[in-house]
Protein backbone atom coordinates (compact mmCIF):
# COMPACT_ATOMS: atom_id res chain seq x y z
CA UNK A 1 0.00 0.00 0.00
CA UNK A 2 1.14 3.48 -0.71
CA UNK A 3 -0.04 6.68 0.88
CA UNK A 4 -3.59 7.55 -0.12
CA UNK A 5 -4.72 11.11 0.51
CA UNK A 6 -8.44 11.77 0.75
CA UNK A 7 -9.64 8.69 -1.12
CA UNK A 8 -13.05 9.58 0.32
CA UNK A 9 -13.03 12.73 -1.84
CA UNK A 10 -14.04 14.96 1.08
CA UNK A 11 -11.97 17.93 -0.08
CA UNK A 12 -13.10 17.75 -3.70
CA UNK A 13 -16.75 17.37 -2.66
CA UNK A 14 -16.51 20.51 -0.52
CA UNK A 15 -14.85 22.39 -3.38
CA UNK A 16 -17.53 21.48 -5.90
CA UNK A 17 -20.25 22.39 -3.40
CA UNK A 18 -18.80 25.86 -3.04
CA UNK A 19 -17.85 26.79 -6.59
CA UNK A 20 -18.61 25.85 -10.18
CA UNK A 21 -15.28 25.40 -11.92
CA UNK A 22 -16.63 24.53 -15.35
CA UNK A 23 -14.99 26.67 -18.02
CA UNK A 24 -13.28 28.81 -15.42
CA UNK A 25 -9.79 30.30 -15.45
CA UNK A 26 -8.30 29.12 -12.16
CA UNK A 27 -5.27 30.21 -10.14
CA UNK A 28 -4.16 27.78 -7.45
CA UNK A 29 -1.73 29.23 -4.92
CA UNK A 30 0.35 26.65 -3.08
CA UNK A 31 -0.41 23.74 -5.37
CA UNK A 32 2.30 21.52 -3.88
CA UNK A 33 2.75 18.37 -5.90
CA UNK A 34 -0.57 18.94 -7.67
CA UNK A 35 -2.49 16.58 -5.42
CA UNK A 36 -5.66 18.71 -5.46
CA UNK A 37 -5.05 20.22 -8.90
CA UNK A 38 -5.53 16.96 -10.75
CA UNK A 39 -8.78 16.33 -8.95
CA UNK A 40 -10.60 19.44 -10.14
CA UNK A 41 -8.83 20.48 -13.35
CA UNK A 42 -11.10 18.52 -15.69
CA UNK A 43 -13.78 20.87 -16.88
CA UNK A 44 -11.92 24.06 -16.11
CA UNK A 45 -10.75 26.28 -18.94
CA UNK A 46 -7.22 26.44 -17.56
CA UNK A 47 -5.40 26.13 -14.25
CA UNK A 48 -2.29 28.10 -13.35
CA UNK A 49 -0.89 26.28 -10.34
CA UNK A 50 1.97 28.01 -8.53
CA UNK A 51 4.24 26.48 -5.93
CA UNK A 52 7.36 28.09 -4.47
CA UNK A 53 8.95 24.89 -3.15
CA UNK A 54 11.11 23.26 -5.82
CA UNK A 55 10.70 19.71 -4.54
CA UNK A 56 6.91 19.81 -4.72
CA UNK A 57 7.00 21.57 -8.08
CA UNK A 58 9.30 18.86 -9.45
CA UNK A 59 6.86 16.14 -8.41
CA UNK A 60 3.98 18.04 -10.00
CA UNK A 61 5.96 18.52 -13.20
CA UNK A 62 6.90 14.85 -13.32
CA UNK A 63 3.27 13.82 -13.15
CA UNK A 64 2.37 16.38 -15.82
CA UNK A 65 5.06 14.92 -18.07
CA UNK A 66 3.52 11.48 -17.57
CA UNK A 67 0.01 12.72 -18.40
CA UNK A 68 0.41 15.84 -20.53
CA UNK A 69 -2.43 18.31 -20.75
CA UNK A 70 -2.62 21.93 -21.84
CA UNK A 71 -5.22 22.53 -19.17
CA UNK A 72 -2.73 22.65 -16.29
CA UNK A 73 0.35 24.83 -16.03
CA UNK A 74 2.58 24.32 -12.99
CA UNK A 75 4.94 27.17 -12.16
CA UNK A 76 7.76 27.23 -9.62
CA UNK A 77 7.26 30.74 -8.32
CA UNK A 78 6.23 32.52 -5.14
CA UNK A 79 2.86 34.25 -5.10
CA UNK A 80 4.56 37.61 -4.57
CA UNK A 81 6.68 37.20 -7.71
CA UNK A 82 3.77 35.80 -9.70
CA UNK A 83 1.45 38.64 -8.71
CA UNK A 84 4.08 41.27 -9.49
CA UNK A 85 4.18 40.09 -13.08
CA UNK A 86 0.45 39.54 -13.53
CA UNK A 87 -2.29 41.76 -14.93
CA UNK A 88 -5.41 42.54 -12.92
CA UNK A 89 -8.82 40.91 -13.46
CA UNK A 90 -7.47 37.69 -14.97
CA UNK A 91 -8.87 34.81 -12.93
CA UNK A 92 -12.39 33.58 -12.35
CA UNK A 93 -11.41 31.52 -9.32
CA UNK A 94 -8.43 31.62 -6.99
CA UNK A 95 -7.72 28.73 -4.65
CA UNK A 96 -5.60 29.44 -1.61
CA UNK A 97 -4.77 25.82 -1.07
CA UNK A 98 -3.54 25.24 2.50
CA UNK A 99 -1.13 28.10 1.84
CA UNK A 100 -2.27 31.12 3.83
CA UNK A 101 -0.81 29.78 7.07
Amino acid sequence: MTIRIDPEGNETAALHELVDLNGREVLEIGSGDGRLTWRYADGTSHVTAIEPFAGSFARASQRLAEAPTDRIEFRNVSFEAFAAGSDADVFDVTLLSWSLC
Binding site: I3, R4, E8, G32, L96
Partner: protein
Protein backbone atom coordinates in the same frame (compact mmCIF):
# COMPACT_ATOMS: atom_id res chain seq x y z
CA UNK B 1 -1.02 37.78 4.64
CA UNK B 2 -3.38 40.73 4.30
CA UNK B 3 -1.28 42.11 1.44
CA UNK B 4 -1.34 38.71 -0.27
CA UNK B 5 -5.14 38.66 -0.05
CA UNK B 6 -5.26 42.18 -1.49
CA UNK B 7 -3.15 40.96 -4.39
CA UNK B 8 -5.49 38.00 -4.86
CA UNK B 9 -8.31 40.54 -5.06
CA UNK B 10 -6.47 42.44 -7.80
CA UNK B 11 -5.93 39.31 -9.89
CA UNK B 12 -9.55 38.16 -9.62
CA UNK B 13 -12.17 39.31 -12.06
CA UNK B 14 -14.85 41.48 -10.41
CA UNK B 15 -17.29 38.57 -10.43
CA UNK B 16 -14.62 36.08 -9.38
CA UNK B 17 -14.41 33.76 -6.41
CA UNK B 18 -11.77 33.12 -3.76
CA UNK B 19 -11.67 29.69 -2.18
CA UNK B 20 -9.53 29.58 0.96
CA UNK B 21 -8.62 26.21 2.50
CA UNK B 22 -6.84 25.79 5.81
CA UNK B 23 -6.57 23.27 8.64
CA UNK B 24 -8.94 23.86 11.52
CA UNK B 25 -7.66 24.98 14.91
CA UNK B 26 -10.41 23.01 16.61
CA UNK B 27 -10.58 20.08 16.42
CA UNK B 28 -6.83 19.54 15.93
CA UNK B 29 -5.39 16.86 13.63
CA UNK B 30 -5.52 13.35 15.01
CA UNK B 31 -4.37 9.83 14.32
CA UNK B 32 -6.75 6.93 14.13
CA UNK B 33 -6.51 3.21 13.49
CA UNK B 34 -9.45 1.23 12.22
CA UNK B 35 -9.59 -2.53 12.24
CA UNK B 36 -12.24 -4.02 9.97
CA UNK B 37 -13.97 -0.67 10.08
CA UNK B 38 -14.03 -0.42 13.86
CA UNK B 39 -12.15 2.40 15.57
CA UNK B 40 -9.37 0.90 17.69
CA UNK B 41 -7.22 4.00 18.29
CA UNK B 42 -7.83 7.74 18.15
CA UNK B 43 -5.63 10.46 19.64
CA UNK B 44 -4.92 14.09 18.86
CA UNK B 45 -1.51 14.65 17.28
CA UNK B 46 0.70 15.87 20.14
CA UNK B 47 2.97 17.50 17.57
CA UNK B 48 0.29 19.99 16.50
CA UNK B 49 2.15 23.21 17.15
CA UNK B 50 1.02 25.66 14.45
CA UNK B 51 -2.07 27.06 16.14
CA UNK B 52 -0.61 30.56 16.04
CA UNK B 53 -0.06 30.33 12.27
CA UNK B 54 -3.65 29.23 11.77
CA UNK B 55 -4.98 32.01 13.95
CA UNK B 56 -2.89 34.52 11.97
CA UNK B 57 -4.40 33.20 8.74
CA UNK B 58 -7.92 33.44 10.13
CA UNK B 59 -7.18 36.97 11.35
CA UNK B 60 -5.99 37.98 7.88
CA UNK B 61 -9.20 36.73 6.30
CA UNK B 62 -11.21 38.53 8.97
CA UNK B 63 -9.29 41.75 8.29
CA UNK B 64 -9.97 41.77 4.54
CA UNK B 65 -13.65 41.04 5.08
CA UNK B 66 -13.94 43.77 7.72
CA UNK B 67 -12.28 46.20 5.32
CA UNK B 68 -14.74 45.22 2.61
CA UNK B 69 -12.09 43.83 0.28
CA UNK B 70 -13.84 40.47 0.24
CA UNK B 71 -17.28 39.35 1.34
CA UNK B 72 -17.63 36.01 3.08
CA UNK B 73 -20.29 33.85 1.42
CA UNK B 74 -20.17 30.24 2.55
CA UNK B 75 -18.07 27.60 4.26
CA UNK B 76 -17.63 23.85 4.42
CA UNK B 77 -15.82 21.80 7.02
CA UNK B 78 -14.29 18.50 6.00
CA UNK B 79 -11.67 15.96 7.00
CA UNK B 80 -8.60 15.41 4.85
CA UNK B 81 -7.76 11.80 5.58
CA UNK B 82 -4.31 10.40 4.74
CA UNK B 83 -4.20 6.61 4.78
CA UNK B 84 -0.96 4.71 5.32
CA UNK B 85 0.06 1.09 5.75
CA UNK B 86 2.52 1.78 8.54
CA UNK B 87 3.76 4.43 10.92
CA UNK B 88 7.03 4.55 8.99
CA UNK B 89 5.21 5.22 5.72
CA UNK B 90 3.05 7.92 7.29
CA UNK B 91 5.96 9.70 8.95
CA UNK B 92 8.09 9.52 5.79
CA UNK B 93 5.22 11.11 3.91
CA UNK B 94 4.89 13.85 6.51
CA UNK B 95 8.59 14.67 6.19
CA UNK B 96 8.15 15.16 2.44
CA UNK B 97 4.89 17.08 2.85
CA UNK B 98 6.43 19.43 5.42
CA UNK B 99 9.72 19.83 3.58
CA UNK B 100 8.92 23.39 2.48
CA UNK B 101 8.59 24.41 6.11
CA UNK B 102 10.42 21.86 8.29
CA UNK B 103 8.76 21.86 11.69
CA UNK B 104 11.15 22.60 14.52
CA UNK B 105 9.13 20.98 17.24
CA UNK B 106 9.75 21.56 20.87
CA UNK B 107 11.60 18.63 22.39
CA UNK B 108 8.68 17.72 24.62
CA UNK B 109 6.18 17.77 21.73
CA UNK B 110 8.48 15.65 19.59
CA UNK B 111 8.92 13.17 22.46
CA UNK B 112 5.17 12.88 22.99
CA UNK B 113 4.61 12.45 19.26
CA UNK B 114 7.25 9.71 19.08
CA UNK B 115 5.65 8.00 22.07
CA UNK B 116 2.21 8.08 20.46
CA UNK B 117 3.49 6.69 17.18
CA UNK B 118 5.33 3.95 19.07
CA UNK B 119 2.01 2.86 20.59
CA UNK B 120 0.35 3.01 17.16
CA UNK B 121 3.16 0.91 15.73
CA UNK B 122 2.73 -1.62 18.52
CA UNK B 123 -1.01 -1.80 17.85
CA UNK B 124 -0.48 -2.26 14.11
CA UNK B 125 2.02 -5.03 14.84
CA UNK B 126 -0.62 -6.92 16.81
CA UNK B 127 -3.44 -6.35 14.30
CA UNK B 128 -3.73 -7.52 10.73
CA UNK B 129 -5.59 -5.50 8.14
CA UNK B 130 -5.63 -2.31 10.20
CA UNK B 131 -6.01 1.08 8.47
CA UNK B 132 -3.82 3.89 9.81
CA UNK B 133 -5.20 7.35 9.07
CA UNK B 134 -3.90 10.85 9.78
CA UNK B 135 -6.96 13.11 9.92
CA UNK B 136 -6.75 16.85 9.34
CA UNK B 137 -10.03 18.65 10.01
CA UNK B 138 -10.13 21.62 7.67
CA UNK B 139 -12.26 24.55 6.63
CA UNK B 140 -12.97 25.71 3.09
CA UNK B 141 -14.45 29.19 2.64
CA UNK B 142 -15.89 31.00 -0.36
CA UNK B 143 -15.37 34.74 -0.60
CA UNK B 144 -16.15 37.21 -3.35
CA UNK B 145 -14.26 40.39 -4.18
CA UNK B 146 -15.74 43.76 -3.24
CA UNK B 147 -14.31 47.26 -3.00
CA UNK B 148 -13.43 48.16 -6.59
Amino acid sequence: MVHALEEVHRLLKPDGTLIEIHPSVEPPPFVEVRTTGELSFSEDDPGFDYVDDLRDAEAAVATVTERGVFAFEDRRRFELRTHAASVEELRDHQVVADAYDPPQKEEELARRQDEMYARVNDLLGRTSGADLVYVEPATMSRLTPRLR
